[in-house]
Amino acid sequence: MSQPIIRVENVGLRFDSFVALDDVSLAVNAGQCIVICGPSGSGKSTLLRCINGLERFQKGDVWVDGVSVRGCQDLPKLRRGVGMVFQHFELYPHMTVLENITLAPIKAKGLSRKQAEDLAFHYLDRVGIVDQAQKHPGRLSGGQQQRAAIARALALEPKAMLFDEPTSALDPEMIAEVLYVMRDLAQGGMTMLVVTHEMGFAREVADEVIFMDRGRIVEHAPVDEFFSTPRAERTREFLNKILLKL
């Protein structure tokens, strides 16, 4: 088997005395979609930030496409290879959607404006908001903003995508349009690591599901097994809580 796109090995991270990540290991193979869920403060987002070097960890290491994050001399290059989508979109409000998307391809990757704009339109089309290219993010709905943010990440043509609760800040109606785009990506063969509480999405799209609690991976199983026969008591408790919304 070829090497995984993302490999996390025994990563440990503490903020002073608070243990954010405790001996976390996982691997995402090419084309795989893995969903991470768990209560807030369980280290899901921190883990994603460790993968593209936005957070420094004290123990273990992460490899992205064979490159060690700990020993990485060129973090910007490594980060270009991993798209990231945030809970609050984090589009740059003073630029148009098109400028948001073309900034990094031009400044970090060295593409010409023309090349970058072609790429941008290609991905805007893919997420279905080509007609919003010249608008500023503040003029878009939440769902459109998140789709623009996805296009921004895709325009760097990354090897993998990290999603950090991409639908948690959205109205129910808009969640669907973002999940639709993500499902389309996964089916198109994109390697994805998704932190989300959308269990419907996990069930339908994910290959594997990880449950985290207090900085540890409590359960890591293929998607069917995860929902039908969760092994850990803590996982069952969590699933019961979020699936039986009374």
């Binding site: 936005l54 980060r79 945030f86 589009l91 970090a108």
Partner: protein
Amino acid sequence: MRYEFDWGLLWREPYFGWIVEGVLTTFHLALLAWVLALCLGIVIGVLRVTNSRVLRAIGTTYVEIFRNIPLIVQLFLWLYVVPQMLPREFSFWWNRLDNVPYWTAMIGISFYTSARLAEQIRSALRAIPPGQFKAGLSTGLTQVQVYRYVIVPYALRIIIPALTSEFLTVFKNTALALTIGVIEITATTRRIEAWSFRGIEAYTVASLTYIATTILVILFMSWLERRYQIPGLIKRGEARV
């Protein structure tokens, strides 16, 4: 009041020529000082919010030195004290420049202003959601690029109104340059008064110059504010929701 006005005096030589020269000196002194102050202010403002303790300390020291000494004292320091502390060759070169008081005033005013600007810029930078920085980094931009293309342009748009008043302050502070021998518009009016004993006419020219220019600046800056407002984020005359 028994005083016969003689406004025509202002159009006569040599006074008219003096006035033109004085107004021009004020203008380019203010503009040059402003541009330098803005560049320095942005750099120092960014230093004050970086993660590096050393850089933050440098920024803080700079700000506290230059904003806590009265401008007029700073001008004297730049003119009399600093050149003596510099290497011999440099002070020779410096003293042989054509317009030492002018350059001294420009440096003094811009350093003083940059410290004030750095504080404004620092507070604007801190108002920007930290997620913006992470987003920039995550797309492979370097830290410097994130500041250059994302954070600083965003911050500057937030503080355009504050920049307007800072520019007006710089403009009026150029009057202090007369204390170290720069013949800008205020110095010119004093000279006209000394030559003609026509103080009212002379000082009217100075006052009108300042008022007319500041009004133009205010109009320009409010245009700039509209031009660069961030759509959907900050609207004129409307509270941010």
